[in-house]
């Protein structure tokens, strides 16, 4: 039976350790655990903070759709996705993906797939606030992101 993914969209920080324990504690069938954490970087000292806007309701729904596709595609024993919104300072967490499986390949690939689709499909938008104080600027999409997501389509 397919596992039901855990999806959370929240302002507060998350604890990657606690989330990995949630997928492993009390079980002996998990042989591989891949954790990806996306953090806010300071862009060589120029960034004061990121502001993450999201579409409440759709953000959770879209992350759930992507996560359900991942559990349908790979034999996972657990999958968790947490995405934060609001103002996030350099060094702070933005997003967490934890994929657990009996074997490493499924866990690596599911986590990679999830991040690629999250970037192009989940309704979140980043605005950069610079140290220099010039108002906020919306982050542009990277051409590479669409290409990364396209890797998972059958050719």
């Amino acid at each position: 039976m397919q596992v039901r993914p855990l999806v959370r969209v929240q302002a507060e920080d998350f604890d990657a350790g606690a989330e990995t324990r949630r997928l492993t504690s009390g079980r002996t069938d998990v042989g591989a655990l891949v954790t990806f954490t996306g953090l806010c970087r300071d862009e060589a000292g120029t960034l004061e903070a990121l502001e993450l806007e999201h579409y409440p309701g759709m953000a959770e729904a879209e992350l759930t759709r992507i996560a359900e596709e991942a559990v349908a595609r790979w034999p996972l024993t657990g999958l968790s996705v947490i995405h934060r919104f609001g103002k996030i300072a350099p060094g702070e967490n933005i997003v967490l993906v934890v994929a657990a499986s009996a074997h490493r390949r499924a866990a690596f690939e599911a986590a990679d797939f999830l991040m690629d689709f999250l970037k192009t499909r989940a309704p979140f938008w980043k605005k950069e606030h610079l140290v220099s104080g010039t108002g906020g600027t919306w982050v542009d999409t990277k051409a590479g992101d669409e290409k990364d997501a396209a890797r998972w389509s059958p050719s």
């Binding site: 997003v95 991040m115 979140f124 980043k126 999409t141």
Partner: protein, 83 residues
Amino acid sequence: MNIRYFAWVRERVGIEEETIEVPGGVKTVADLISHLKTLDDNHAAAFEEEDAIRVALDQLHVETDTDLGDAREVAFFPPMTGG
């Protein structure tokens, strides 16, 4: 119909959300965009780069040639930049 805007689309329109009466001739998302552009300068500016706008109908991604059907909520926003 309830319309929601996000990120720079929201900033250009100047509001987060509005409810509009959809005129009879408006069938698809593209028709709705054409109609919204006629409302005022802010809407016209928001939809100026139409190719840069993404659409969700009742919180599902759709293309602009999609029929509005019975959708209750349409959202317009730029390409996503989360993660």
